[in-house]
């Protein structure tokens, strides 16, 4: 390796606000992406949390890509307003893809962001009403619906002041029929978990041993073991043990995001100079060994995973099923919207994806969206581009639209006046129709307004703080 040492310089995690409601029969807190979230929008939120400086490359990993044949990472790139010279690529398929990004980014520097919406087949009524005593006759459990989770996390490698040094990356490969999915289906299948566990146990121990030996360590302080195989995660603490903590996924199996979410949860609490070993068992095992630095405590994520797990909104089970396309509901008697068109979307990319407006250099009036002719002083083409995504604002007026087409009605719309000037009208994300008032404080989040004609309409929404 040449040039300055590449270390971990930032990380971030994003968990959606919704949890499956009690009517689903799921015990615990199944983290659920909203109808307007996908692996691209959640990746944007995790990346926003992770980035302090511009990354030299962008790697987006997912098992639930919103598009094929079109680079999903490009929308993330646009939302982050990265220079076009920063390459961006998708790593799609299994939870292993994330480690392909880690391998690349720890060599050259770059942001690895992984995100997933995990969809399982709906659970049966028997399962929901059956107690532990009925375990012997329980039908198969839908792992992804019951014990999975939706979320995103990002790690940023670069030459700057590291929050953790990379001690090693290692991996081993197994050809194994443990989890698989027909590319045309949203839900997958799994073999008996004990079969996979037995095969995984050996490679997990082997990768851990290699990394620790190369680093001259007897054990790591923190060990995170994640896997789509529940046998592995159930025994995560005993497979490889950390001297300070032994953990697994903080939300249940979240696909490509899982190893990074596990790592983020540890970095949220780890002390300086502590070693962290992340092991991800998917068709083999990948491992990343880090040692935190004294800079970590000052640059932890402002939104720790544990804090994001709290304060959630329950979503009724039928609503959840309709969000995932597993239950078709009656829609308002309104036409479906037109698909966003390619050329206008490209011309407006800085606005649509980056929420960048224009500020008049003559009078200072901020235009959201950007305009060429100033609305305040009529100056023409006297504009500078201004980033708006990090602005916060207050609600000037609002409405709950029960007639508008939406994948999840009603639509709540707010007119937002931004601190420091500028106004625009936005849909509200994660909306509680009764929780909005004139003066409510909002921030911006990247979402998918709707999908029409197989085109996802990405844009920003307001979320009440």
């Amino acid at each position: 390796m040449s040039g300055p040492a590449v270390g971990l310089i930032g990380y971030g995690a994003y968990l959606p606000s919704y949890r499956l409601g009690g009517d689903s029969g799921v015990r615990g807190r199944r983290v659920v992406a909203s109808f307007d979230e996908d692996a691209t929008t959640m990746a944007v939120e995790a990346a926003r949390a992770a980035l302090g400086t511009e990354p030299t490359s962008l790697w987006w990993a997912s098992t639930s890509p919103p598009y094929l044949d079109k680079t999903n990472a490009a929308a993330v790139h646009a939302a982050l307003r990265l220079p076009s010279a920063v390459p961006a690529a998708d790593l799609i398929g299994s939870a292993r893809s994330t480690f392909a990004g880690i391998r690349a980014a720890r060599e050259t520097g770059g942001l690895v962001v992984a995100a997933d919406v995990r969809v399982g087949k709906p659970g049966s009524l028997d399962e929901r009403t059956g107690g532990d005593g009925a375990a012997a006759t329980r039908p198969p459990v839908s792992l992804d619906e019951r014990t999975g989770g939706d979320g995103a996390a990002a790690v940023h490698f670069g030459a700057g002041e590291a929050i953790a040094d990379v001690l090693g990356v290692a991996g081993e490969t197994l050809e194994l029929l443990d989890r698989w999915r027909d590319p045309h289906r949203t839900t997958g299948e799994q073999w008996e978990e004990r079969f996979g566990f037995e095969r995984y146990a050996d490679v997990v121990r082997s990768v851990a041993a290699r990394l620790l030996e190369e680093a001259g360590l007897a054990a790591a302080d923190h060990v995170v073991v994640t896997s789509g195989n529940p046998g592995v995660t159930k025994r995560a603490g005993s497979l490889v043990t950390g001297t300070l903590s032994s953990t697994t996924s903080p939300i249940g199996f979240s696909g490509a995001a899982d190893p990074l979410l596990g790592l983020a949860a540890v970095l949220d609490v780890a002390g300086p100079g502590e070693t962290v070993l992340v092991l991800s068992a998917t068709d083999g095992c990948d491992g990343l060994l880090l040692r935190t630095t004294a800079h970590l405590s000052a640059r932890r994520s402002t939104r720790p995973v544990a804090a994001q797990l709290e304060g959630a909104l329950p979503v009724p089970y039928p609503t959840y099923l309709s969000w995932r396309g597993l239950l078709e509901r009656e829609l308002p008697r309104r036409p479906e919207p037109d698909r966003p068109a390619g050329p206008p979307s490209a011309r407006a990319a800085e606005w649509k994806f980056g929420f960048a407006g224009s500020r008049c250099t003559e009078c200072g009036f901020l235009h959201l969206p950007p305009l060429r002719v100033c609305r305040a002083c009529s100056a023409v083409d006297a504009m500078e581009t201004v980033s708006g995504a990090e602005l916060s604002g207050s609600v000037a007026t609002f409405t709950v639209d029960r007639l508008a087409f939406s994948p999840s009605p009603p639509v709540v719309d707010v007119v937002v006046d931004f601190a420091g000037g500028g106004r625009t009208t936005l849909e509200v994300a994660d909306a509680d129709p009764d929780g909005i008032a004139v003066g409510s404080q909002v921030e911006l989040v990247f979402r998918r307004l709707f999908t029409a004609g197989n085109v996802h309409n990405y844009f920003w929404k307001a979320r009440v703080r």
Partner: protein
């Protein structure tokens, strides 16, 4: 610098208007033939004596062919115009200018809309391909106008319950008026309890706060004022025509507070200047205004100068704009109860002025009206087109 105006240069000498409503048995063509036929009969003019036509429709047809084909017009100039919900007024405005210019002797303004064939609720938009980010693309019209309600109560410190009562009063009044109108879509009085308890559509707007979605057509024959008495002994004269298209600044500017339509203020001021009106409250006998949603009518009372700022809700509750009030507003039922076939609505407003100023409004006839105002609006709070006309039954 405002428009110079064409006060008393042209007059309406005939009008037609179909019954508005769910006209399942009538096509757009049928509605046009009905309205144009009634207009020709009213003026005592043969079809071939009309020199030119302006046709207003939002979505029910394209080009002049949408009128020349159903009527079988032989090579007449027909222009189709569109200006959102002010389309009918735009058709009339252009017809007036065509006569005033001296280019034609007799010009017909026609407006039509066939909304009920779509199977959808409310208005549909035909938008050009876009980036998908504009709120107008998703926010429905009732939602856009419902923004007025919290903004108004918050600005003027009005108890939201009192505001709700005022909105209910507007719907109640316009239903009472419409019940007296044989051409109205809804010919039934509706109790305040029913209006208030209706399912919510957007914000605090229930279904009775929204104008009727309907099919219909209307037409007016315009001639030079000096020729008007050749056609009828009771022509009505055009005193003012004003149109303003806003810069759509309100949606971008935190200084806009969603309690007014600046476009309406501009057109009202301009129209009063053209007509020589200094005190609209005492000089106007009646007003037909764009009550697309109940809070719209309240805000319009202030923008048109009929009520002081922050007081329209109180004046409305006091009955000032009822049929027996100080200034009857939407005596024909308005968009609320007469219905709102978009391209026809501006001409429908003039049709009521025509009937009232000629003393032909039967059971809803006002006592000795002289000057009438029509106000037509297209768009939404923050950015719209606004039209105001003043017409009277005396020249000079």
């Amino acid at each position: 610098m405002a428009s110079k105006g064409i006060k008393d240069a042209v007059a309406i000498v005939g009008m037609g208007c179909t019954r508005f409503g769910e006209r399942w048995d009538s096509s757009t063509d049928d509605l046009l033939i009905e309205a144009v036929g009634e207009c020709l009969t009213s003026a005592g003019v043969a079809r071939d004596d009309v020199d030119a036509y302006w046709l207003g429709t939002l979505n029910s047809g394209q080009s002049g062919l949408a009128l020349s084909r159903p009527l079988g017009l032989d090579y007449k100039p027909v222009t189709r115009v569109e200006n959102y919900c002010a389309t009918g007024s735009e058709s009339f405005r252009n017809a007036c200018y065509a006569v005033a210019s001296g280019a034609y002797d007799r010009v017909m303004a026609v407006g039509v809309e066939k909304l009920k064939d779509s199977g959808f609720s409310g208005l549909l938009r035909a938008d050009p391909p876009s980036d998908g980010t504009a709120a107008e693309l998703s926010l429905t019209a009732p939602a856009a106008f419902s923004l007025l309600d919290p903004a108004y109560t918050s600005k003027y410190g009005v108890d939201p319950r009192a505001m709700r009562e005022a909105m209910t009063h507007v719907a109640w009044k316009n239903h009472v008026n419409g019940a007296q109108n044989p051409k109205a879509q809804f010919r039934k009085e509706v109790s305040r309890e029913t209006i208030d308890g209706a399912p919510r559509v957007a914000g605090r707007l229930g279904i009775f706060d929204c104008s009727g979605v309907s099919d219909g057509a209307a037409a007016a024959l315009v001639v030079r004022a000096e020729d008007a008495y050749d056609y009828t002994d009771r022509p009505i004269f055009v005193k003012a025509l004003s149109l303003a298209s806003g810069p759509m600044r309100g949606g971008l500017d935190p200084d806009y507070d969603f309690t007014s339509f600046p476009e309406v203020v501009h057109t009202a001021t301009d129209a009063y200047a053209q007509a020589g009106i200094t005190d609209p409250r005492s000089e106007l006998s009646m007003a037909e205004v764009h009550d697309c949603f109940t809070p719209t009518e309240l805000v319009l009372m202030e923008d048109l100068g009929f009520a002081d700022r922050g007081q329209a809700w109180k004046d409305a509750l006091g009955g000032d704009f009822d049929a027996a009030g100080r200034l009857p507003v939407n005596i024909d039922g308005g968009l609320k109860s007469f219905g709102h076939p978009v391209g026809a609505s501006g001409l429908r407003m003039l049709y009521e002025a025509w009937l009232q100023l000629r003393g032909e409004a039967d059971q809803r006839q006002l006592a000795d009206p002289r000057l009438a105002l029509t106000h037509n609006l297209g768009g939404r709070p923050g950015g719209c087109v606004s039209f105001v006309s003043v017409v009277g039954n005396e020249r000079g």
